[in-house]
Assembly symmetry: C2
Homo-oligomer: 178 residues x 2
Amino acid sequence: MNIEQFVAQSLGEWKAMRSSHSLAFKQFEEIISKIIIKPLDINDSNIQELIEDSIYKKEEMVQPFQIEWQAESNWEEDSEQKDMKGSSILIPILRRSKNGIIIRSIGYTEKVRAISYFKFLEDGTMILSTQYNQSTAEERIWFISNSVRCRSSVVRSKDSSAILQTSFSSEVKLRGNP
Amino acid sequence: MNIEQFVAQSLGEWKAMRSSHSLAFKQFEEIISKIIIKPLDINDSNIQELIEDSIYKKEEMVQPFQIEWQAESNWEEDSEQKDMKGSSILIPILRRSKNGIIIRSIGYTEKVRAISYFKFLEDGTMILSTQYNQSTAEERIWFISNSVRCRSSVVRSKDSSAILQTSFSSEVKLRGNP
């Protein structure tokens, strides 16, 4: 697996079941959402802006893409406060054949611009590491069939390295890239 | 990571938060349980019996161990039908430095004796594959700190290879091997 193949296989519309675990409080959270991953043109103005603000060059980009997500159902009382929908632009920058960085317009743990480091393990699992202001996140994404992927995350406090939360998503592709 | 280190780090008492996802029905299940992993003596009669019934030799064994689990709480209506507690004996047999097999007195997906194949990825993640009568299971176990590990599983139908269920556990060590 390399980043081009990974992005190509990720494009399309997905239904995700996500569980998160707050370790300190032993609390579970469940959510079903729809995720749309679509390719963006390298001349898109948002892409241009993100690249110009970075230390990277346009020529180093691999297929940029956008992720949109929307929760379909929710049975949490405090749903109004939650991020029930959103979108983020991601620009992979290849460094070596099996690793590189991804510029994100909106981060995973904190809703700010972020730089993630990615690498692939020998079985094709992508490991994504991100430093935010208050926290660090490690995500793992691996395909268990052509149309099903798993995604786990671990969020740590940046100060204490305490593990704040883990999560796991099972994602089923409903249709490929239109 | 090798199998000896992996077993040594796993010994002790754990609190597990587990979420499972039934993909076809979009159903979640949550459970909190206690897991005790303790070493067994190679002269234990259960170990002797399992080895004698196998094609493997006593000399090939790595530290055998027992896993006991018990659900602490449950809010499912059909709890009576569920396996709320159980135990299994596991005997690792080393083949090469990074892979081998594990004899299980009771399997993970089906409650029968089973043989699992294990290997370690370069980041220390253990991948365990098991063929049962009706299903196959792939488990992944990785330590995210000395005292926290994650465990995911994918269960497929043996006939159709359809993915029946995925699961994810976050396991926090309460105390080490007594």
